[in-house]
């Protein structure tokens, strides 16, 4: 019974949404809006599981001294610091007590979690660490209540304006993101060197099409001819193949959706 019920729900929600596509009525529009809101809210609860998995894996790596375990410390500190920044807003200019509170929070969380994981995860003196953690947590709450220079904001989003939160985003995440993306310029050159070899007919077609399009803006006598052929290649054969793939994907998606709703395909529910 436990395994059949979810498939009944899939069939129920699936047919409802298929029918909803054909009903323009106001109620069906509202239903679609609410159901997509549900998915987003479920997403947040799942995110809690995700963050716990990240913490659990990092701690496991540290406790068992797996290779590269030192870097898991950096990940955990980054995670906790960022969440701390996100929920707090600095009232007055002085940052000293703010950072002191953060340090205390980090150490107390570290000890608490080690204590909770306990001996099973190879943690020595788990009980003492747990109580030390509780003690530090008390100190932290004391600072949080009486230090006027900063405050927690769970119900309003002032945290997003916290300068540290914004600078961590603009000075750490954005350059890292842009540079990782820029690595592609190098990867594209090594991939094309390795793969564009006229080994057989298909590889030769791949090579010729790529060369034509890559030369599309080179100046020179027959520069105009190449750019015209490259536009033609993009507008005609490329269009045809894209359309064939798009139709194929469309039918593939509809078939997969149908298999899932009718319960023919059950793999995703873990029944291999």
């Amino acid at each position: 019974m436990r395994r059949q019920l979810p498939f009944f729900f899939v069939f129920l929600f699936g047919t409802f949404m298929v029918v909803q596509n054909f009903v323009p009525h106001e109620y069906s529009e509202r239903a679609k809006e609410f159901l997509s809101d549900w998915t987003i809210i479920i997403g947040i609860f799942a995110l809690a599981l995700g963050i716990w998995s990240l913490i659990h894996v990092s701690l496991d790596k540290i406790n068992k001294r797996k290779p590269n375990w030192e870097y898991s410390f950096v990940t955990l500190v980054g995670l906790v610091a960022m969440i701390f920044f996100g929920f707090t807003a600095n009232v007055s200019g002085s940052w000293l007590t703010y950072f002191a509170a953060l340090m205390v929070l980090l150490i107390s969380l570290w000890l608490l979690v080690q204590g909770i994981l306990g001996a099973g995860a190879g943690v020595t003196k788990a009980k003492e660490k747990f109580f030390a953690g509780i003690g530090l947590a008390a100190i932290f709450t004391f600072i949080a209540l009486y230090d006027k220079s900063w405050a927690f904001h769970f119900y309003t989003s002032e945290g997003l304006e916290n300068p540290l939160f914004k600078h961590f985003f603009s000075d750490i995440m954005v350059p890292l993101q842009a540079t990782m993306f820029a690595l592609l310029a190098f990867f594209i050159s090594s991939a094309s060197y390795r793969a564009f070899r006229a080994r057989n007919l298909l590889a030769t077609l791949l090579l010729i099409a790529a060369l034509i399009v890559m030369l599309r803006f080179t100046p020179g006598p027959w520069g105009d001819l190449i750019s015209k052929t490259s536009t033609w290649v993009m507008n005609v054969p490329n269009l045809a193949a894209q359309r064939a793939i798009v139709i194929g994907i469309g039918l593939g998606m509809v078939a997969t959706a149908l298999k899932v709703i009718l319960g023919i395909e059950r793999g995703y529910m873990g029944k291999g």
């Binding site: 954005v174 993101q177 070899r197 890559m214 507008n235």
Partner: protein, 291 residues
């Protein structure tokens, strides 16, 4: 290991080193690259150029900082052209990390208008671009598909107030603007799936002319929509921006970029040739050895 084996098995790090050195050299040289003019970009330029002063265009800056390097030249070229022609512009930024960058880009372009410029022989006086009069920045709202459909009924439904929090009704520009019927053209600059929503939920439902600025990789995927008429023009990657700048006679970010693009492409083609020369030579050698 004879020469053609080495040709075929070059260490990738040599390629990377060679690529970065060529880019640095090109970076500091100053030869200009002549650009061709494709009709996909020409369609957008001619449409905007033909609009009488006072018309309203809608520019959707739907990308985030990571693809800014490739898409900013297009946004700058389009908005500079629009402000020069005294067109009014309504902006949105429907990508989650985009609003801050879009806001900064708008102010950049508005400041650049304070200088007198001549384009295609026509001189344009210095202008003060005012928020709420010359442009209105609606900002970001999550779930772009719902926002695009809602703006078809009224901009006020998803955006009661603009990015800076002032209600739309108190902005002189927005008093007369309600939905897409009041917009002459929507120019959507993005690096991916927000464009699909603009095609099916925007242009598909409300039928306004839709132009697109896309990263190189996405351009190929949207040609079918150009051919079926759902999209009236496409600017593909930096080349599209360079063409627009060329037509608007306003050399800017794209022209500088092209100076490095050409040598970089030639480096890649060079290594492809090296690989193939090595391949053919080794195949010929293997034939000789067998026979």
């Amino acid at each position: 290991m004879n020469w053609f084996e080495r040709f075929m098995k070059l260490d990738r790090r040599w390629i990377y080193l060679f690529l970065i050195t060529v880019c640095l050299l090109a970076y500091y040289s100053d030869f200009t690259v002549p650009t061709i003019r494709e009709k996909e970009t020409g369609a957008i330029y001619n449409f905007i150029d033909s609009l009488p002063a006072g018309e309203v265009i809608f520019v959707a800056i739907d990308y985030d900082p990571s693809s800014q390097a490739e898409l900013h030249p297009m946004t700058y070229a389009i908005i500079e052209h629009a402000f020069r022609k005294n067109l009014k512009v309504v902006f949105t930024a429907l990508s989650q990390n985009g609003p801050g960058m879009a806001d900064q880009a708008i102010h950049d372009i508005a400041d650049s208008m304070r200088v007198e410029q001549t384009y295609n022989g026509v001189s344009y006086p210095a202008r003060e671009i005012a928020n709420g009069v010359d442009y209105c920045f609606l900002g970001y709202k999550p779930y772009y598909a719902l926002v695009i459909t809602a703006m078809g009924q009224d901009f006020r439904t998803p955006f009661p107030a603009d990015y800076y929090g002032t209600p739309l009704d108190s902005l002189p520009l927005m008093k007369k603007l309600h939905n897409y019927d009041d917009i002459s053209i929507v120019v959507e600059v993005s690096s991916g799936n927000i464009s699909d929503a603009w095609i099916s939920y925007g242009q598909g439902k409300f039928g306004f002319p839709l132009a697109m600025g896309l990263t190189g990789v996405m351009t190929a995927q949207y040609y079918p929509f150009l051919q079926s008429g759902q999209v009236m023009g496409i600017m593909g990657g930096l080349l599209g921006a360079a063409q627009y700048e060329d037509m608007a006679d306003n050399p800017g970010l794209a022209k500088d970029g092209m100076r490095v693009q050409l040598p970089a492409h030639l480096v890649i083609i060079l290594f492809i040739l090296i690989g193939n020369i090595g391949h053919f030579a080794s195949r010929k050698n293997r034939k000789n050895v067998q026979s």
